[in-house]
C-alpha cells in the first residue's frame, strides 16, 4: 500500500517523483507513508478510490458540453421563466471584469493592505446597494435572497426582543420555507398572513399584529410579480412597534419603483442575482441585506469600512468584526463566514455599467414589455389576469389548460413558458407566472402569444367562458 509506486505527473501537481524523494530525504523521512503514520491503521483506506478514470481537458470539456447541451437553457429555448431568478441581459463588461483572476482567485481580504481592490470594490457595492434601496447600510452579501430573508427575521427578533414574525403568503414559498428552517430552533414563531388579490392587505395586517410581533415580512415585487402598497404596510407595522422587512423579487425593479427605504422599511433582504449574475441553475447568487444605521451592530455578515493609513491615505478594511463568528463564536450575530463576494462584485459592476439613467431605462423596458405581453396574452379567449394589482416584469395568468401541459406544448415550439403555481398555491392550479424582461424582444413576445393561443385552442377549446 505504498504511495510511491503510483506517483504520476499531473498538470496541477508540480512535485515530481524525484523532488518528492529529495524532499523526503531532506526532512529525514523514508516515505510519504511515514508522514501518514498518525492515522490509525484501522481507519485507513486499503484500496484505490473507485472513481471514474481521469479525463484529459479535451475529453473533459467534450463530456461537459454533452451534459450541458442536454439542458433546455435560455439560449436554446426562449424563456419566460421568472419566479425568483431573472434572465436579464448581462453586459459583456460585467464578467470580463469580475472574471479577472486577481478577483476570483483571491481569498477573503484578511490582509487589507494587499487587498485594497477587493475591499474597495465591496465598499462600492455596499454603497450602490444603499443607493438602490435607499437604506443606510448594506453588508458585503449573504448566500442568497432566501437565506438573507431568514437571517433578517433572526435579526429582527434580536432587535425587538419579540418572538413572532408575520410573513405574507405573497412571499416566494421557498423563502418562507427557508424562513421556517432558519427560525425553527430559535424560538421564533412564524405566522402566515394570507395575500388578498395578489398583495398583502394592510387592513388585515393590522389585525395580525400584536405586542409579540418582531417583524412583518413582505416581498415587493412579490412572488406574483405584484407591487405591494409599501407605505400603507409600513404605517401598520410601525404603529405596532414592529419592523418591516422587505424582500425584493427582482432588484432591477428599483430603477422604476419606490425603494423600500423611501417608505420606511427597516431591513431589506432580497435576491441580487438579477444584477449581472448568471441563472446558473440556481446559484451562485447573492443575498442582499441592507438596514438602518442604528441596526448595523446586529447585522450578520461581513462589512467593509473606510479608514486611513498612517499617512492619511484612504484605505478599506473589514470592520465591526466583533459581530462575527471568528471573534464572538456562539454569541455572533450569525454563523456566516464565506459569502458571495464575487457575485456582489458582478452586481456592483452591473449597477455601475447601467448607472443612474440606465437602470431606470432597463426597468422601464421590463415594465413596458411585460405589460404588452400581459395585455396580448389576456386577449386570448379563456385567459385572464389572476390579480388586478400593478405588476413589474412578471404576472400571474389564469389559463384554461393545465399549466404544465401548456409548458410541455410550448417546449415543443422552442419556448420555455411560465411557472405553474399550483404546487405552491392549491387555489392557483390554473395559475401561470409569466416573466418578461428586457432580454425578450417584441418578436419573441408575439411568438409566445401566438403559440399560447394555438395550444389553448387545440387543447381546451371547450373550456372557454
Amino acid at each position: 500500500m505504498s504511495s510511491s509506486a503510483d506517483w504520476r505527473p499531473h498538470k496541477y501537481l508540480p512535485l515530481t517523483a524525484a523532488e518528492r524523494d529529495e524532499m523526503l530525504r531532506l526532512i529525514g523521512r523514508a516515505s510519504v507513508e511515514e508522514l501518514l503514520s498518525d492515522i490509525p491503521a484501522g481507519v485507513r483506506l486499503r484500496r484505490t478510490l473507485a472513481l471514474p478514470p481521469a479525463l484529459a481537458d479535451g475529453d473533459l470539456l467534450a463530456h461537459l458540453r454533452t451534459l450541458a447541451e442536454r439542458n433546455g437553457h435560455a439560449d436554446r429555448l426562449t424563456s419566460f421563466l421568472g419566479g425568483g431568478a431573472y434572465d436579464h441581459h448581462i453586459p459583456s463588461v460585467v464578467w470580463h471584469l469580475a472574471g479577472r483572476a486577481e478577483f476570483y482567485t483571491a481569498y477573503t481580504p484578511y490582509q487589507a493592505e494587499i487587498m485594497q481592490g477587493e475591499l474597495q470594490a465591496t465598499y462600492e457595492y455596499q454603497s450602490m446597494l444603499c443607493e438602490l434601496t435607499a437604506m443606510d447600510v448594506a453588508n458585503a452579501s449573504m448566500y442568497d435572497g432566501a437565506s438573507a430573508f431568514g437571517e433578517a427575521a433572526v435579526m429582527a427578533r434580536d432587535l425587538t426582543r419579540r418572538d413572532e414574525v408575520v410573513v405574507s403568503t405573497a412571499v416566494h414559498p421557498q423563502y418562507r420555507d427557508v424562513l421556517r428552517t432558519y427560525t425553527r430552533h430559535l424560538g421564533v414563531r412564524v405566522v402566515e398572513l394570507p395575500h388578498h388579490g395578489g398583495i398583502t392587505p394592510p387592513a388585515a395586517l393590522r389585525g395580525a399584529l400584536s405586542g409579540n410581533t418582531a417583524a412583518v415580512m413582505v416581498q415587493s415585487p412579490n412572488v406574483f410579480g405584484c407591487v405591494e402598497d409599501g407605505p400603507a404596510l409600513a404605517q401598520a407595522v410601525h404603529d405596532a412597534g414592529a419592523l418591516l422587512i422587505v424582500g425584493i423579487a427582482d432588484p432591477v425593479s428599483l430603477g422604476l419603483l419606490q425603494p423600500p427605504g423611501a417608505y420606511g422599511a427597516d431591513i431589506v433582504a432580497g435576491e441580487g442575482q438579477p444584477l449581472g449574475n448568471h441563472l446558473s441553475y440556481g446559484g451562485p447568487y447573492l443575498g442582499m441585506l441592507a438596514t438602518r444605521q442604528a441596526f448595523v451592530r446586529r447585522m450578520p455578515g461581513r462589512l467593509v469600512g473606510a479608514t486611513t493609513d498612517r499617512d492619511g491615505r484612504r484605505g478599506f478594511v473589514l470592520t465591526l468584526q466583533t459581530r462575527e463568528q471568528h471573534i464572538r463564536r456562539e454569541k455572533a450575530t450569525s454563523n456566516i463566514c464565506t459569502n458571495e463576494a464575487l457575485n456582489a462584485l458582478a452586481a456592483a459592476i452591473y449597477m455601475a455599467a447601467l448607472g443612474r439613467a440606465g437602470l431606470r431605462r432597463v426597468a422601464e423596458v421590463n415594465a413596458r414589455r411585460a405589460h404588452y405581453a400581459k395585455q396580448r396574452l389576456c386577449a386570448i379567449p379563456g385567459i385572464r389576469p389572476a390579480f388586478n394589482a400593478p405588476t413589474f416584469n412578471e404576472f400571474v395568468l389564469r389559463v384554461p389548460v393545465d399549466p404544465q401541459e401548456l409548458d410541455a406544448r410550448l417546449i415543443d415550439r422552442g419556448i420555455l413558458g411560465g411557472l405553474p403555481l399550483g404546487r405552491w398555491y392549491p387555489d392557483l392550479r390554473d395559475g401561470w407566472l409569466v416573466c418578461v424582461t428586457e432580454a425578450r424582444s417584441r418578436g419573441q413576445i408575439d411568438a409566445l402569444v401566438e403559440a399560447v393561443a394555438t395550444v389553448v385552442d387545440s387543447v381546451a377549446p371547450v373550456s372557454r367562458s
Binding site: L13, P91, A112, T308, D309, R361
Partner: protein, 492 residues
Amino acid sequence: MTDKDFPLIFEHSVPGRVAASLPEADVPDVPLETIIGAERLRTDPAALPEVSELDLVRHYTRLSQRNYAIDVGFYPLGSCTMKYNPKVNEDAARLPGFARLHPNTPDSQAQGALELLWHLEQMLCEISGMDRVTFQPAAGAHGELTALMMIRAYHDERGDHRTRVIVPDSAHGTNPASAAMCGYTVVTVPSDARGNIDHGALRRAADGSVAALMLTNPNTLGLFEEGITEVAEIIHGCGALLYLDGANFNAVLGVTRPGDQGFDVMHMNTHKTFSTPHGGGGPGAGPVAVKRLLEPYLPVPTVERQGELFRLDHDRPKTIGRVRAFNGNFGVLVRAYAYLRAYGPLLRQVSEAAVLNANYLMARLRPYFDLPYDRVCMHEFVLSGRRQKAQHGVRTLDIAKRLLDYGFHAPTIYFPLIVDEAIMIEPTETESRQTMEAFAAALVRVTEECATNPELVRTAPHRAVVGRLDEVAAARQPNLRWRPPGAQGRGA
C-alpha cells in the same frame, strides 16, 4: 478624497455618462402611471455612478491590480486550502447549458445538470465513505447548520431532547456559531498536550444531553486525531452523533474516509478541497454527506435517479426543509465535478503532495520559530511567534505584515486560539518546492529583521499601495458607504 487616494467609482462619475447600451421598449407606449400606478413610481433616482464603458473597465482593472490572488502568488493561508483553481473548470461553468439554465426549468429540460449532480454525489460518497449528499448548502458554515438541523431532527424523532453540542477549543468559530443557530448550548472541550481532543474531558462532557461532537480532522493544528476511534466510541456511547467539519479534508483524500472513521455526517468545502475559486470571500459550496441514518432529514430537494431519468425530489416527509432557494450553488458544483473528473483515482496523490509540502515547509521553518505541537503534520502546521514577541517585541501581526513586503500573502494568524501568537501555514499540493523555498527564505529574513530592525517589521508593510490601516478608527466611527456630495443620512 485627497490627491493620494485611489478614486471611488463614484468619484469618476460625470452626469449623463453611461456604460451600457440601453434598449428601446419597442412596444406601444403606455404611460408608466397606468402600468405601475403613480404613487408606486420612484421619485428620486438611485445615485449610481455615471461612467463610460472605458472608465468602468479601467477602474475595475486597476482595482484588480490592487489585489493579491492565487494567480499572482503563494497564498499559505492555513485552514483555507488556497490551491490553484484550474481554468478548464471556469470554462465548464460558463457553458451556456449550465450558466444559462434557469432554476425553475422542469426536470425534463435539466437532465444534463441533474445527471452531473447525481454523479457528483456518487463521487463524494465514495471519497467520504458516506451514503447520501445534499448540495443545498452554499458554504461550509451553511453546511454545518444544515447538518446540525438534521442531527436535531434525528434526536427529536426519537423523543430524545438533547440540548448540548461539544466543540473542541481548537475549533473554527463557525462551529459554536452554527450550534447556537440550531438552538444548542455549546460545551467546549480542551485539547491535550499532543494536540488531540482531551479524551478525559470528552468522557466527562459526553452524557445523555449531548446531541453531537463537532470535530475537525485533521484538526486545526494540522494534526490527525490519533484516537479518532475512541472518540467515536465515546460519542456514540452516549447516544450522540459525530460530525466532521471537513475544512481539512484535503489532507486525507483516498487515504482515510470519514465514514470509516465513525463520522455520521460531514460537510465539505468545495472551495477548499475541490479547487473552486474563493472569489474574494465567496461563493463556495458546502455539500453535506450523511450516513443512512440521517438520510430522511436531508434538506429538499435531493437528486434522484430512476433508470435513465433524473429528477429533483421535493417530497421528503421528514426533511428539515429548505436552507436556501433553488438547487444549491450549481455553478460551483460544476467546477468541483470537473476537478474530480480531471483526477479520477489519482486524487490520493493530491493529499500525499499536500502533506509532504506541509512537512517539508515545517522542517524548513522549525529552527526559527516555536513549534508548540512537535509531531508529523498533515496538510498544515501551526508555529508560534512567541519567541519573536518575547525577545524583540515584534508581534505575529507585524511579521505577517512584513511578509507582504516580500510579495507573499501572510499565513493565517492568531488561529487556532489555543496557540499563543499562532502562525498557521498551509502550502497545498499545487505549490512547487521552489515556491516554498522562496517563501521560507522570506520568512526567515523577517525573523532576522525582528532582531536587527524590529521597528521596520512593526511598521510594515512598506511596499503595499497603502500603509498599515487603522482598524480601530474604522470600527469606532464606521464609514460603510459613499454618500452623494451634500447628502445627509437618509431613511433612518
